[in-house]
Structure formats: C-alpha cells, structure tokens
Symmetry: D3
Subunit: 238 residues, 6 copies
Amino acid sequence: MTLTPQNREKLRQVSVSTLTTCLYRKGLKRVWPSGILPLAKGQPRLVGEAYTLRFVPAREDVGAGSYGTAANVHQRAFEDCPPGHVLVMDTRGETRGCSCGDLLIGRLKARGCAGIVTDGGFRDTLDIEGLDFPVYQRCAVPAPSFGYLHAAEANVPVGCGDVAVYPGDIVVGDQDGVVVIPAAIANEIAETAYEQTEYETFAAGEVAKGRTIIGLYPATEQSMAEFRAWRDARHGRA
Amino acid sequence: MTLTPQNREKLRQVSVSTLTTCLYRKGLKRVWPSGILPLAKGQPRLVGEAYTLRFVPAREDVGAGSYGTAANVHQRAFEDCPPGHVLVMDTRGETRGCSCGDLLIGRLKARGCAGIVTDGGFRDTLDIEGLDFPVYQRCAVPAPSFGYLHAAEANVPVGCGDVAVYPGDIVVGDQDGVVVIPAAIANEIAETAYEQTEYETFAAGEVAKGRTIIGLYPATEQSMAEFRAWRDARHGRA
Amino acid sequence: MTLTPQNREKLRQVSVSTLTTCLYRKGLKRVWPSGILPLAKGQPRLVGEAYTLRFVPAREDVGAGSYGTAANVHQRAFEDCPPGHVLVMDTRGETRGCSCGDLLIGRLKARGCAGIVTDGGFRDTLDIEGLDFPVYQRCAVPAPSFGYLHAAEANVPVGCGDVAVYPGDIVVGDQDGVVVIPAAIANEIAETAYEQTEYETFAAGEVAKGRTIIGLYPATEQSMAEFRAWRDARHGRA
Amino acid sequence: MTLTPQNREKLRQVSVSTLTTCLYRKGLKRVWPSGILPLAKGQPRLVGEAYTLRFVPAREDVGAGSYGTAANVHQRAFEDCPPGHVLVMDTRGETRGCSCGDLLIGRLKARGCAGIVTDGGFRDTLDIEGLDFPVYQRCAVPAPSFGYLHAAEANVPVGCGDVAVYPGDIVVGDQDGVVVIPAAIANEIAETAYEQTEYETFAAGEVAKGRTIIGLYPATEQSMAEFRAWRDARHGRA
Amino acid sequence: MTLTPQNREKLRQVSVSTLTTCLYRKGLKRVWPSGILPLAKGQPRLVGEAYTLRFVPAREDVGAGSYGTAANVHQRAFEDCPPGHVLVMDTRGETRGCSCGDLLIGRLKARGCAGIVTDGGFRDTLDIEGLDFPVYQRCAVPAPSFGYLHAAEANVPVGCGDVAVYPGDIVVGDQDGVVVIPAAIANEIAETAYEQTEYETFAAGEVAKGRTIIGLYPATEQSMAEFRAWRDARHGRA
Amino acid sequence: MTLTPQNREKLRQVSVSTLTTCLYRKGLKRVWPSGILPLAKGQPRLVGEAYTLRFVPAREDVGAGSYGTAANVHQRAFEDCPPGHVLVMDTRGETRGCSCGDLLIGRLKARGCAGIVTDGGFRDTLDIEGLDFPVYQRCAVPAPSFGYLHAAEANVPVGCGDVAVYPGDIVVGDQDGVVVIPAAIANEIAETAYEQTEYETFAAGEVAKGRTIIGLYPATEQSMAEFRAWRDARHGRA
C-alpha cells in the first residue's frame, strides 16, 4: 500500500513519541531503535520509505578491489536509493569505522532522497550539518570505514539498532529519534497519530491552565467530548 | 531540618561541582548519579526537596487496569508531589520505555513543583523543552512506558542511578548533573558551598591574571587572607 | 622532527576525518580515541604537541599528602606543560571522579598551552566553556578526583581511550573528536591532508551540482585533472 | 492460590526453558532475569515461593548503626524468610559489594529455606558450594556489602535483574538460570510444563533416531498421536 | 579450494591460538569472534565448513505463520546444513531470546553436521551437553526465540560476533573459542599451523627444563635447527 | 616491611573475602579488581609480591623491532620478575589481543615465580591449565598481542582492573578473585585475617547447628568468649 501525500504530510507533523504509542496499540512494540539520534538540533523532519544497506564486518581478504567503481555495493546504494526514500544502514552498531561521510550524504540529498539513518556513525559531521538534511546516527566516527565495514547487499530485510527494517517500511524521525512503520499500516497510523496529536495539543492546553491529568490523559468519554468541541471551535466549525 | 529560604537561594548560585566537594569533606562521597544530565542547555537551575517514585519492571499480568485512574501510582505521583519539591524517579535505569512525557511534566510545573529527575528518559522532549522547566534524564526515550515500567510506590527510599535518594533530601542540579544533599546537613552545606564559590571566583580571577595554581587552590592561609581582602573590597566593606 | 608553523596552520584547516584517512594510507589505523568529544560546540580548533599525564586508580593509603603543593604530580603537570602543547590525560576512562576543573584549565590557558584532552571528564563545565579553550572529554564529571584518580607520572607514553599517545605526538581536534599524529610524519601528513581537503572541497561542489560520486570519490585520473584546473582557476593561476 | 505438593515436584522435573515457553504462551514474556546463573554446576534444583529483599545504594550517613542487631533489615531477612521460600535479592545489579556470604546462606539452609537468588553476587563462594544449596548470582563478589548496599525493606515487589518479582511468586531454577511464575498460574503452568517435557523427551528420542524436526516440533496432530501412544506404552498402559 | 582430509585432521590437532597467529602473519587479523565459547568443557573439537543463518530482529507483524513448517527459514537451516558443515548463526548478539534448543541441535548431530556456533545463546543447555557435540555460544538463554529473532536468509555472508563469515569458510574451535579461516587459504594455514604446533611442543619442553624464552620464542635460526633435530629424533628419523 | 614466612603461609589459608573485610576495617576499600578470576577451578592458591608490567595501546609505528630480543619489555618481564613474586599486568582491560600464552607463563613457573594476574586475557588456556600454576584473567583471548598491546615499562605503579598495584604489594588470590594488600600492612592483615578466619569457622559450625546469625556475626563479647573456649578446646589447651 502506498503512503498518500496527505498522510506523508501528516507524518511530518506528528511526533515519534505519538507514533510509538499508536503502533503499541496495534500490537507493534519493537519499532524504535534506541540510541540513534538526529545529528543536528533543528535539522528537517524525516519521513520516507526505507531503502536498506546491509554491512558485514570487514575482512582483509575481501572486497577492497571494488572501491570507487560502480560495482561497489556501498557507493552504489547512494546512487540507487530512490528519491523520497530513506537510506537505512545496518552496520551492526559499528562505531570504530564510519558509515560514510559528507560527500555520499551530499549525493543522497542532490538525488532527492528523504534522509539517512545508520546504527553506526558518520564522519565530517560539521560539513554534514551544512547540508541541512535529515541525518540520524549513534555518534560521530571520524575514522574511515575500511577495516571495519564491508557492504554486503542492498534492499533486503535488515536490523538497524535493535529494530527490524524491511524495504518500503515508512521511517519517521524527530528530535527523539526514529520510528519504523510497517508499510501495510502506514496510512492508518498516520491518521490515528494525527488525531492523537490534536488531542494532545488540547490536553497540553488544559494542563497549562491547571487541570489535573486524571480524566484527561488517557482520554475519557467526557474529555473526548470537550476535545471535539475545542477542535470544532478551532477549525471554525459551527 | 528545613532548608531556609536564604540557603535555598544560595544553592541556586553554587555549582554541583562545588557541592560534591563540600559533601566529600563531610565524608559523603556517593551523592552524584553519573550520566543523568539536563534535558536542555540553559534550562532553569534545579533546587528542591525530593519526592520519590519507585518502579519495578513491568509484567504482563500486573497493573494495566489502573491506568488513567486516580489509583494509578505513576500518575498520582504527579498530583501528590508537593509544590517546591522535585520528583525523583527510580526506573532502575530503564531506557527502552519512557519515564513519562510532556503532559505529566507540564502538570508538575503547573502545580508549582521544582523539577523532575529520572534515571531513565523522557519522551516528547521538544515539547518538554518548551516548558522551560528543570528536567534531568539519561536520554530521550520516545516509546511508551507500558511493557517496561510499573510504578510500585511513592515517597520511599530509592536509588536514582547509582545514588540513594531519601524523601526530603535536597536535590540540586546544573549543567553537570544533579547532586543529592541529606536534609540534615543541607543548610550547613549551602553555607560552606556559597563561601567556597566566592573563593573560587576570586581564584579564577587570579588564575586569569597569570598566577600559579600552587598555593592558590586548594587555599592556603596566605591566599585566604588575600581572598578576604578581595571579598571585603568587593562587598564595599572598609 | 619539528612541525613547521605553516603545517601547524594547515592542520588547523583540515578535519580529523581527513587526517584519519591520510594516516590510514600510511598504515596507521589506531589513531583516534572513540567517544572523546569537544566540551562545547564551536570551541577553537585544537593543534599542538602532546604532553602526557598518567593516572593510576586512587588508593586510600597513597598520595593525599602532596595535594596543593608543588610536589603534587597532578597539579605540577599544569605548570610544566609547555606553551603550545596539549595536556593529554590517561585516566583509564575514569568518569566517577573528574580529571580536573575550571581553575586548572584556566591556568593551562593562561600559560599559553594549546588545549587539553582527557579520556575521563571535567567538572565545572559551564565555567570551562567560558574560557573559550579547546577541551575534549568523555562526559561531565562534577565529583572531585579524590578517591578515584592518583597522578603517577608525567610525559611518558600513555593510552588515551583506546589510543597510544607519546610525548611530542601532534594532537589535532575538531567537532568529530581528536586524532594523534606521530611526530615523525606530522609535516608530511599536514601537507597531504591539506591537499586532500582541497580536493574534497572541489568534490563537494561537484556533488552539489548533481554529479555522481562514482569516478569522483575516490579520485580518478580524470577527476584529478579537473580538480587541478579548478584549483588553478580558484587560486588565480593562469 | 497455593502450589500443590505434586506440582512443586513437577516443577523440580521440568526445565526453565520449558517453563519460559509455557509462560510465553500465556502472554508472559518478561519472566527470566538474564545473566543470573547457578553458583555451582550440579547444585540442587530450585523451587519455592519468593520472599524478597530490596536494597538501595549505600550512603555514608545512613544505616551503619543497626549492623549485627535484630533491627538490621539485611540480616533479619535471613531469619524471616519462611521455610520452603526463596530469598530473592534486588541489589540493582550491584557487583562491587557482595549481597552476602556463606554464613547468612548457611543460616537460610539451616532454617529450611529453598534457595537464594541475587542480581548481584556472593562472597566466600567456595564455602557456599560446600553447603550444597541452590544459589543463583551474577558473579563472585569478595568485597563486603558496606559502602555499596543498604537493605531498605523486605517482602515488597522488587526487580531482580530485568524481571519483576512479587512476594509469593514461584521461583524455579536450573542450569540455564531462574524463571519467575506468577502465583496465580503456578499450578496450571506446572502441569502444562510437565506434559510439554514428556513430549520433548519423546521428540528427542525421535530426533536421535534420525527423524526430521519438521512436523515433530512444534507438535502436530500426527506427532501428538504418536506421542500419546509412546507415553501409554512407557507408562505400561494398555 | 577444498580442505583435504589430512588437513582437516591437522586442524583438529592445532589450537585456535596457533591459527590466529598463522592468519595474522598472512595479514588476516579479524578472524576471531570475542566472547563466543564452548558450551561444555571437554566437548569434541570443532572443524568444518561454514553454513550460515542470518537473523533480523523480530517484529510482531512478520513471520509467525511459517513456524513448524518446511517454509520456516530457521528450522529449514537445520535440515539443509550439509554433513561435515558448521551452522554459524548471526543473531546480532541477541541474548534475550535463544538461538535454538536441544532438539534442533540434536537434529544437526543426527544429520552428521560438524557443530554449531551462535553469537547469541542456546536453551536447554544441560540436554545439549548430553549430545556431546561441538557447540559454541555467548551464554545460556532459556527464553524462546519468539519476539527477539526472525530468521531472514541462509548461506549468505554474515557477521558472527565481530567477525565476517562467508559460506564455505573453515571454522575451527577449541577451549579458547572459534576462528574463521578463509576457504582459499585453509590448506596452507592447516600446514603451517601444524608445523608451528610441533615447534611449540618442542619449545614448551625446553621451557619446562628451565631455558629462557629469549632466543626460543619467537624461533631463531639456532632454535629452529635444534627443533629439527628434536623432531627427527622424535619421528625416529636417522 | 617484609612479609614473614609464617604470615605468607597464613595468607594462603585465608580467603580473599576475609582479606577485603580486614582491609575495609583499616580504611582500604579499593583493593579488589572486579571480573578477574582464576583460569581453572582448583588451581593452587596465589600469594606473592607484585612485580608489575604496564602496557599502552599498540601503534603500527612503534616497537615491533624488539620482539624476540632481550630488549623487548614484554618478554624481559618474564625473565626479571623475581622468584616468589607475582607478575601483575596492566593491559587497560584489553581482551582483543592476549596478554601472553603458555610458553611465557611456563617460563614464569620454571623460574619459581608465584603466579600471574592480568586485567586482560591469556591464550592457549588448555596448555596453561596443564601447568598447574596460579593464573588470573578476565577471559580467554586466543589472538596474538600484536596490534593491541605494547609493553611500555616494568615495575612501576599500575592499575589492574579498577585497582592500584604498587611494586611490592602483596597479591593474594582464591576462587573469588585477587586482592592487593599494601606491603606496609601485610603482616598485620595476615594476622587479623587468620584470626578472623578461625572465628568464621567457629561461626559456620554454630550456624550449621541451627543458631541464629544475630549475636553471632558480627561477633559480640559473648560470642567471642564462646569462640575462645571453642578454639582452646580445639587446640587442645586446658
């Protein structure tokens, strides 16, 4: 199922926290890779389909030959990840050698991709920040990938941190990290999360006015009625 | 013993580093939970009495029923923590499920509490930053607390990170983290730390002028005499 | 071999990432201590010779006596580290007691030293930020060093994090961390890294224009020719 | 609900692995504390009701006075834990100071208790092995508990490792570690686990004869029929 | 290249330590996964070709359906791993859910496979020990694999712990752990390791007689001459 | 001060747990390196003076040349450690490359040394077990030390695990690990620990007979009187 443009926009307006709650209610609990955070505070929001890249540990007798050629799995992924997609890298949490640097991420941006996520780390982070692009990692890793990471295959099921990512899953990121939404339920989740977000805006306003949280969050029938009145008033409905 | 208003103010003006030193001199070494840091750079200073909340690991057959009711130990703590107090959460370092989100922290602020500290992490951190409230945690945790954390009891002795916290202890926080001061010595510590801070201001000025640290820090009889002259001049005393 | 003033300046203009790559090509792979980062975003760049300080774990029967005297190995290092040098502290990764605070770092700055690096952490970090000095650490540690760290000797070979540091090695730091360059090859590395940096600037420009990374990075004969033309044009050479 | 003597005996004959599977099928997934293992290979099997003891981190101003008296919460737990029960210690994973030594465990044995489990470690392990008693821990910890652990209260809900333990839960241990069974379903679990164990004995025999695992494990209607015939034959039923 | 029967036998007689040294001399340094150890002391030596199985983290919406059928990737690997081969499991270090239990390992043994290695852990370890089969893991994990591990594909390049494993690599294990030898150099390594082992036997004898290690290990021309004489005498050559 | 032969013998008969308690009472709390355990169950007890060896992380441009010569700091330590002494290795916890193998440890035994302790790990552990020598380590490490460890200097103050070791300190080891006793108090500690051990033997007998721990441990005036009577009777005194 394809994510509609409206729902893609909705996902940009809801938080990762709200999405994990909506997924939890659908029975999906393992959707958030711990410790993977935005490179820069205030970088653009991340929403897009996952395009995956899987690494194995490097070994001295394997693979050096293809570096810099079109046959290199690592570099080719940055040419093949479709526009609007997020490159999700499964490095098995490698933070001794980098996942890539600013040139490859610049290429991803130039090609119209939506962002990049690794469970390892990037180098040249000051230059990457200059790209103003959605970038998620564990920590800065200035060392080259050689000796640590060998790209094995692209666009297969992978793990990123502690979470499964399947090609086509919807990846959403904000200040708290990223969440992975199975493609089949992405439209539904976008809608319920958007409505939940509106309720939370209503509730935050009530709390700021001094109202108790009990009976307000989680919502009750009574508070839902108040919410609907608030929302109608806000949207200028009679 | 109650912390006097003057000493509460003094604690707001001294650093956590100075306080750990003053406590060390009184034989108290285990007073600072490592790895628990302010959510946002520049948030207000934290000073207040500890009100504690203890969690045990969640188990599927326990406790779901009370969520959203006044009987829920987790939510009730945010209604019961007295104004001026700090809610200190013992999650056993849980960072897979959140300690709470922006609505509960907003409630704490609305009720006049002094701040919140967890040895786990919070969700909705962007919204929490908007509250401009003293918030300390290990890392952002967007996932719900369900499945990970079950609140067992409030206002009992707890551990927060690697440190004991007893109800009524004074909790102080700055950019370097938080420190826990036993209630019985809080006034005394506030006074010695304040004096120590004045000395350090004097010493930093000397160092900036090019003076050697030897004979200046730690203080000597000679440097104390210079300090007292400096302080008297500064305070306009003859 | 002494680092020339020109090459010292070049090292200030190249990134730690580029330096690790140049060192990798010379067969030096273990040159970057993971997890040691700048205290403050935007602090000055770090370049200087290493002056080392080695700690052992503190023990209750050893060393308290010399504190505050010229015989104290810890404090003396801040008087002895030569101007232009970087004080590199081997604490065995200790983050329960601090490596030092703002007064000692202020002294280092006043004496014209180039910066400080620890594989532990510093206290009084807000005051340290005010010094506008290159400072690298693992995390803030407000607690005193007593009980955790005892300075054993200065200017011997040490480990800092996972990396060897020999007195006189050149230490360079930026946002991604620090790198250690053996003194014997520092001039050579400065020059190749500077050239490499110019190529990367050229390549980043090409990427931003939409050019594929294949055939551009790593450089090919063709791309090098383009680069030389670009560089000549940029430097106003005919 | 009380565990019947027959089911207590059945629990002694089934493995922790089989029990975690049976609990998983009832929706209970968080029942096994990782990394807590038998002190000695070949020690007696562990089955008994949980009696809990909760520690907080020690602090220098708290609690030293009661040591060696009947008012000491730590020592009193070894007098109060009922015969047939298991003392479960929540130390928050403390392995720098011991949970206790051989004398206290000897007392537990002399009083007819069923065993002891800590998420920290014990001292005098050679002497403890000599007691031939079911003992589970993380690792040997020869240092005293002073300075690290302060017993706060007994027989309250606790965490042990990553698992909740409520007073009265049934704790079972074998070579793979321990599992916690909620009291309310202990009889049911004992029975299904016992039956499951018989099936696994049948299946292991089939596998040893060269039969494929597909269609055998998990059980199918066909394999269940074979199992029942095997069991009847084994038990001498016509 | 195929491992000859003579070299397979030689590999059974040399240690993992000697093999890592021989591989180091060929420029292969990343060949030993740290922390993966024999399940039981005294279990048979492990030598065989790698057959790999790759897992991704489990997700609630994926894969439960195939369990117990021939389509299940996890179970099918135990039917497909060829006789004489070693099943190498890449679980990304998962120790919360098991890699498998005694029934599947029993099947592997019954089919004539050479052993099993996981970077996670097995359940039913007492029963597995009874199989007297070469089994390597990180630690015992009694909990089911459900909820933690989903088998994605078999016989592709994987990581096991921190090491790459390609299908057909030769895996050797002893008390110190396992080592992975690239297939292309396995015969050569077997021969040099066997010779090296003979030298070490000679050297150990010399050391036991009181000879200094200097000039003996590493070998010198002189010590090699003595070794050859010793070997000839031992093998009864004139 | 020299350890008397009688006290050396007493240290062989008391446990590491009893020694940590006696040291604690003298104000020495940081005397036991966590996680460093005997290589083999049942190996001989360890008692001897510390001779230390300090490593720094290896770097590709340093030190390979001296390997196998008398100038090599690593190998020379095994020739220089005096008979009756314990070689204590400070590897900074390195477990990717070994501290040494069976040949060097065999040399140490042949020279009459008392044992070896590393905060890293040894290779060839099966052969080391065959030496029947007191050996303490963190875990088996089959890989060579090259690339990871470079021996910097011998017989200086070091850290081993989390503990300071000074040349001449007395190192004692049993099943629970090792403890480091400052030379100046070793005779005194040996005597008090020996007496304490006798009391614990008395107390264990009382506990086995069913006596409560309260009033027995820690000792009271009353229990000490009983102990003295028991001891006199045992030693056949009137």
